[in-house]
Amino acid sequence: MTCPVTIRIQEDDFDIAREIEVLTKSRTDIGAVVSFSGICRADDDSAKISALTLEHYPGMAEEEIRRHVDEATSRWPLNGVTVIHRVGRFMPGQNIVLVLTASQHRQAAFQAAEFLMDYLKTSAPFWKKEESATGTGWVEAHARDDEAAARWTKS
């Protein structure tokens, strides 16, 4: 089974429709594509966020995403994976991350996309800094994200 993998870390925005087209072009074996996009939102638990800055560890970020994509392709019958993570400064409403998973049937695509997002949040070296009316501060990691990632651990 052919499973092309695209992993990109970039400042530029992405076009979801175009990325799906790239993934599915000239393919007749794909029956399902799941798309997840993470968007900068203004409302957090406390203050309104005016901007978000994403920092990453160049080199390790790509390698860490690749390790999880490799695990996803070994766990589910996937026909293609695209992960694009943006870095830089974002305003509410702007795209931050895109995960596309393609497979013959929807279950594998849904599960792999969720698996990849859970691991992107807890183990890919990216950090968010928030700006709000009350100042700027680094976003704290949430225990709920660790719990979400832990449920994929094979027992």
Partner: protein, 83 residues
Amino acid sequence: MKVKYFAWVRERIGKAEETIEPPATVRTVEELIAWLSSQSEAYAYAFEKPKVIRTAIDHAHVKSDTAIAGAREIAFFPPMTGG
């Protein structure tokens, strides 16, 4: 060895990377954090809660009891918040 710092660890230490030569008695990640913390107040502040700090050796996550021998690049950073 080369050391890199990210997010608030970088801000507290005041630099993104440096080359360090810890004494041979410093054998693990945990011991390296303790040694760095003894170097200045800035390091002590960055590593004030060592259990919170995440470490990568040569681009892979490692635990605090991992040996640092042979490491080319060690990175210290807070828990990740991407995605």
